[in-house]
């Protein structure tokens, strides 16, 4: 049993690390820009501090910048160094991991987009109420620290940003991120496989409270959280629990809490957490009835939280051993942008360690900050102008936002392209289900579901709308895919499975026709 728990936790931590890698890298980019380009004074201007307006500013910046609760840790450290009040930092820390353009688009194409808009507004209420009360209770939380010397413009300034990123990647940030990742391992140790499948029902008044206990140590990227919300809406689960999953599951993790405790002490951190719990849980009970979808037949189970539980069953070790199984699953689940993020982080970390070693002999910042000597001035062209650091920093931040928007078009391809991919996945699934290859079918089922979601978002992105008819067509296929999953996992008769496969095949054909011919 110990093996199951141990290897299960290892797998969960590896999966979370890979999911977080692109967001941590983005967070480090933001830190580099704020530290070397923007400077402390301008950062305070951008985010504001100790006012209600600053809470809104931070919330808005957080909503625009792509991030996750682990990626915001280095940014929070930088905001603190810039002398920003704790309420404002927490407002950013909480809002940044909730939404990004990718997940927001995903959310807006769910059956009730109004729910996602309401969740976004509720998150603003949460940060405003808890931030205002907190800043009133503790008005002097702005830390004064020395502004780093200015780096001369040119290539040195760009290199200085890279140096900050590299140093930050091997600083205490790495430890805090590891603590955050341990939260997923911890949950997997505490929760046996599939134990949450019959929880979080709309009828159970304790669902939001149970979700609070699970979501705080959990780690979820904005897309993961949004996918889980979609699954919760599809299964008619508690809306309050879904809101808590978004706020605490995506917004908070153990690493962020450890950073708060380390910098602000137990008392302040507990008061902030208490305020957050009070506001979030109250709101979650308030929205439970008004936002609950009425046209859903609630299912008695959900798969949304399987990823928080232990991935292995005690006493049933995988055929090729745990290590082989972990490798197989990591290979299957990891996406291209996660691999790219992990490689970039690895390179940054290596550079950071190299700089640490180099510090014993030569400190690179001394060279970077040194102004060019001599009095020789070269003639400058009309276009060779000196761009101030803050302008470059704002341009950099806007580029990150623009890049994430452009990324949406790549992640959510055009309907025609998506239908081709869906066709491939569908053929694999249906053939495997028809011929009794259960494992193969179960592997391809979630891929089909993923493409159906992308089909809707891609359509919405390109046409600016998604009719209820098209939503319904997609929902019918998703529901049938899930029924097939249950038939397979319940070991139903081949005849029943074949009959359902034929229905599913027709539904897929109708879906394809609707998105090809009726948009």
């Amino acid at each position: 049993m110990f093996e199951t728990i141990f290897w299960g936790a290892c797998l969960r931590i590896i999966q979370a690390t890979l999911q977080a890698a692109p967001f941590i890298f983005t967070g480090l980019c933001v830190v580099g820009l704020l530290h070397r380009m923007m400077g402390q004074k301008q950062t305070r201007w951008l985010f504001g501090s100790n006012t209600v307006a600053s809470l809104f500013q931070s919330w808005l910046i957080g909503m625009l910048l792509p991030g996750c609760s682990l990626g915001v840790i280095p940014i929070c450290k930088q905001l603190r160094r810039s002398g920003i009040a704790v309420g404002t930092i927490f407002a950013f820390a909480l809002s940044s991991p909730l939404f990004d353009p990718l997940s927001m688009l995903y959310g807006l194409t769910l059956s009730k987009p109004i729910t996602i808009v309401a969740f976004a507004l509720c998150s603003l209420i949460v940060v405003t109420i808890s931030g205002t009360i907190f800043d009133r209770m503790f008005p002097n939380t702005e830390v004064q620290s020395e502004e780093p010397p200015e780096t001369p413009h040119g290539i040195k300034r760009l290199l200085a940003v890279l140096v900050v990123m590299a140093r930050e990647s091997v600083s205490s940030t790495a430890g805090l991120i590891f603590i955050g990742l341990c939260g997923t391992g911890l949950l997997s140790m505490l929760l046996p496989a599939g134990i949450l499948q019959r929880t979080m029902s709309h009828a159970n008044p304790y669902s939001p409270l149970l979700m609070t206990a699970i979501a705080i140590p959990a780690y979820a990227t904005p897309m993961t959280a949004m996918g889980q919300l979609g699954s919760m809406f599809q299964h008619g689960n508690s809306i309050g629990a879904a809101f808590i999953l978004l706020i605490f599951g995506a917004g908070v993790n153990l690493g962020l809490l450890a950073w708060m405790i380390r910098n602000y002490g137990w008392k302040m951190s507990s008061i902030w957490m208490g305020l957050m719990l009070l506001v979030v849980v109250t709101l979650s009970y308030g929205i439970e009835r008004p936002l609950y979808p009425k046209d859903i037949e609630p299912a008695d189970h959900t798969h949304a939280f399987d990823s928080y539980c232990c991935p292995f069953v005690a006493g049933a070790s995988p055929t090729g051993g745990y290590l082989a199984e972990i490798w197989r699953r990591v290979k299957l689940d990891t996406q291209l942008h996660e691999i790219a993020g992990a490689i970039l982080l690895g390179l940054l970390g290596t550079f950071g360690l190299f700089l640490r070693w180099l510090d014993r002999r030569w400190i690179i910042e001394e060279w970077l900050n040194r102004k060019a000597g001599g009095t020789v001035t070269l003639a400058r062209g009309a276009w060779d102008i000196e761009v101030p650091g803050p302008v470059l920093a704002v341009t950099g931040l806007l580029s990150i936002v623009a890049f994430s928007i452009v990324g949406c078009f790549a992640y959510y391809p055009s309907p025609a392209e998506t239908l081709e991919e869906l066709k491939l996945a569908e053929t694999e699934t249906l053939t495997a289900a028809r011929t009794g290859q259960k494992e193969h079918a179960l592997h391809w089922l979630p891929i089909c579901e993923g493409w159906i979601r992308r089909l809707q978002v891609g359509t919405y992105l390109r046409y600016g709308r998604l009719s209820e008819y098209h939503r319904m067509k997609a929902r019918v296929v998703s529901d049938k895919l899930e029924t097939l999953e249950h038939l397979l996992e319940n070991g139903d008769s081949p005849d029943d499975i074949r009959k359902h496969v034929s229905e599913l095949s027709r539904a897929c054909g109708r879906l394809s026709r609707a998105y090809r011919e009726e948009l």
Partner: protein, 162 residues
């Protein structure tokens, strides 16, 4: 220094506790979404007994129930009426999804949606009257008959299998 290590200590403590408390699992297992999941009970989406299986069945049910409610409005008990109305409203709510699982094209589906909305509004007023202890007036509007007729005319288009 205290603050620096307290968080780490709390985390380590939680990990140790969880290792000791990590509980057992069910006996048999299966693999779902690449995750081994204990299989103690069947996982399925239960459908209400009055959930129609197809568009044609849904329209027949609506037609039948509409006629029955109008005919027996003054005779059946208030509780039975409430149950009948609730089931009618359920079917009307499911109708757009059921229609989406048919061969109806977009304009036809939009028509179904419109008819379902019209009938829902009508039966909602019946249900509110019944829930407040009153018997609804037994005079169905012409629009209801027309809506049901319209739903019926779409039945051949809902199954275009050769």
């Amino acid at each position: 220094m205290y603050h620096e290590y307290s968080a780490l200590f709390a985390t380590v403590l939680l990990v140790l506790c969880s290792t000791l408390l990590g509980c057992g699992n069910a006996t048999t297992d299966t693999s779902v979404r690449g995750v081994h999941v204990p299989q103690t009970e069947r996982l399925e989406h239960h459908q209400a007994p009055h959930h129609p299986r197809s568009y044609a069945a849904a329209v027949s049910q609506i037609e039948l129930r509409h006629a029955r409610i109008q005919a027996e409005l003054g005779r059946i008990t208030l509780d039975a009426l409430k149950r009948e109305l609730r089931e009618m409203l359920d079917i009307l709510e499911w109708l757009p999804t059921i229609a989406a699982d048919s061969d109806l094209k977009k304009p036809e589906w939009d028509q179904v949606k419109q008819c379902a909305t019209q009938l829902t509004e009508f039966y909602d007023s019946y249900a509110s009257a019944a829930n407040s202890g009153h018997r609804p007036p037994g005079t169905p509007r012409n629009e209801c008959r027309r809506a049901i007729e319209s739903l019926r005319t779409l039945m051949p288009a809902a199954d275009r299998r050769p």
